[in-house]
């Protein structure tokens, strides 16, 4: 009986080590995946990097037929759509964060709003794109006719609109958490001095959560930069650069993500494919850096 127990313990000791090794291996796998992604992107974009160099980033012509590749149209497209979407969405994200964080943190109405926001984040982007194509585009087209620009309907403006809705949940849910974290003594001190609710929010809560809310904006931005499908369906898919800013915004364009989505399977020669991959590499770096900065700010904030 004793010996059986000892034998059991001895074999268990062996399995313990195996189990621990498996856990370690899976964690290492994660690092390998990221390194693998980076390595593949760099490797496959090498031909393009070597032949075009850094000029790729501000080349204005994207002409695969004649083997001329420049990323400028897509950088513009990505930056414009993301920043316009951010600007549109920030008032809404902040309002939601302030409402749910400060005015009404509990209760059925607040739960309802919270669930609505989470629902916005849950709807797949393809569905936003599909709806946008059939409902938003005609509306924008009519609007464009009214303000005297070419009535494409699709374009950077339309994509930015739908993107704005999609990224609201990212800044707002972080904002709610942060605003709720403001210590009561701080707020009570201001109230005790006779401050109104608005003044407490403006002078106590906002400054306190400033860096955290900025991190939320970065996370929203990261999400916007990486969004592919809704944008692909609404942006018009042109690689030409328009002449004025107004025409650029209200006209068709492309983002880094959308041009990859559209042209990847058509890229029939190495130069073409590796130029697209290089765009993917740039996209990878930009989104990763922005997300990491955002996350770092959040950890610093929550550790204080």
């Amino acid at each position: 009986m004793e010996n059986k127990r000892l034998d059991l313990s001895n074999s268990q000791l062996k399995w313990e080590t195996i189990f621990k090794r498996v856990l370690v291996t899976m964690s290492i796998l994660l690092v390998l995946i990221i390194l693998g992604v980076l390595a593949t992107l760099i490797l496959e974009s090498m031909p393009s990097i070597q032949s075009l160099g850094i000029k790729f980033l501000w080349g204005k012509i994207w002409d695969p037929v004649n083997n001329i590749y420049g990323a400028y149209p897509f950088l513009i497209g990505t930056l414009l759509t993301s920043f316009i979407a951010l600007i549109i969405s920030i008032p809404f994200s902040y309002a939601i964060a302030i409402y749910l964080g400060e005015y009404n943190p509990k209760g059925w109405l607040s739960d309802l709003l919270k669930n609505t926001i989470e629902l916005i984040a849950a709807v797949p982007s393809i569905i936003y794109g599909f709806w946008g194509l059939f409902v938003l585009v005609p509306i924008v087209r009519a609007f464009e006719m009214k303000i005297g620009v070419a009535p494409y309907g699709v374009g950077i403006f339309t994509s930015s609109l739908i993107l704005a809705v999609m990224i609201i949940p990212y800044a707002s849910s972080l904002g709610i958490t942060l605003i709720r974290m403001v210590p009561s003594p701080l707020k009570e001190g201001a109230y005790a001095l006779g401050a109104t609710r608005y003044e407490v929010i403006k002078s106590v809560i906002m400054p306190y959560t400033r860096s955290g809310l900025f991190a939320g904006v970065l996370l929203s931005l990261g999400r916007a930069l990486g969004e592919t499908m809704a944008v692909t369906m609404l942006i018009g898919n042109t690689s030409a650069v328009a002449d004025t800013l107004k025409n650029t915004i209200f006209g068709p364009g492309n983002t880094m993500a959308s041009v990859i989505a559209n042209e990847f399977t058509e890229a029939d020669h190495t130069q073409y494919l590796s130029a697209l991959i290089e765009l993917g590499l740039v996209l990878f770096f930009v989104t990763v850096v922005i997300n990491l900065i955002g996350k770092r700010i959040i950890t610093k904030f929550t550790n204080n």
């Binding site: 127990r5 000892l6 059991l8 313990s9 001895n10 268990q12 000791l13 313990e16």
Partner: protein, 252 residues
């Protein structure tokens, strides 16, 4: 001493570079109830956890020296086996919330995949719960989860769980400090009954408890075993000045 069950020889314990238990030598006999007392941070819990090799599970925790269980050095044995042979009851009652009361008692067999017949299982559960003075209170709700039990009952469930493994030695790490006075006295009464079949080592923060329940008492101070003597002797005429200071409340 032929009847020795646990013997520490020059036992030292460390957390990283922190020398927490210094050169302990102690011999404990079968069926004794030993209280281990001392001020916070004196190393008594660390020493206790060295006996069943729970100490080394903490990152950067190391130990030197020997602890002999029935003549064999536990540090030469299979650690899992050592822990199965020695029972432990913790400060906060910790029954497994995902198991029923019945399953909690035989958890030591269940979680190890040891095959036991239903009849034997029933027997072990009844015997262990009886020895822990809990059988009458739970025998009709054996298959419910133990979350409705009071603190004292949960602790007695943990004691039953330890007993079910048929250890010779049971270690108690401040077992009543999280309990109310009534539960505390029910557990203390248990020590008296358990003594017949088991050896008990009880770390306690409560001097009066040490005086009440134990045959011999060990006093730890700043990592050292300062004094180890008959409980009566220790509390009436301690040999060491430090023990005297502790007992008279100079520091706690």
């Amino acid at each position: 001493m032929e009847n020795t069950i646990v013997k520490a020889e020059n036992y030292n314990a460390y957390f990283g570079d922190n020398h927490v238990v210094k050169d302990v030598n102690i011999s404990i006999g079968k069926n004794e109830v030993i209280a281990v007392m001392g001020p916070s941070g004196c190393g008594k819990t660390t020493f206790l956890r060295g006996i069943n090799r729970m100490h080394e599970l903490i990152p950067n925790a190391t130990a030197k020296g020997k602890i002999l269980l029935d003549g064999q050095n536990v540090y030469d044995m299979n650690a899992i086996y050592v822990r199965a042979k020695i029972g432990m009851v913790f400060q906060r009652p910790n029954p497994f919330p995902n198991l029923s009361i019945y399953e909690n008692v035989i958890a030591g067999y269940l979680l190890n995949g040891i095959k036991v017949s239903k009849a034997d299982k029933d027997l072990i559960v009844e015997k262990s719960l009886t020895s822990a003075a809990l059988w009458k209170e739970v025998k009709d709700s054996l298959h419910k989860k133990g979350t409705f039990l009071s603190g004292g009952q949960q602790q007695r469930l943990c004691i039953a769980r330890a007993i079910a493994m048929q250890p010779e030695l049971i270690l108690f790490d401040e077992p009543t400090s999280a309990l109310d006075p009534i539960s505390t006295s029910s557990v203390e009464a248990l020590f008296h009954e358990l003594k017949a079949n088991y050896t008990l080592i009880i770390v306690t923060h409560n001097m009066q408890q040490a005086a009440r329940v134990s045959d011999r008492t060990a006093f730890f101070y700043m990592g050292e075993l300062v004094e180890f003597d008959d409980t009566k002797q220790m509390f009436t005429a301690p040999a060491d000045q430090r023990t005297q200071n502790y007992i008279t409340g100079r520091f706690s």
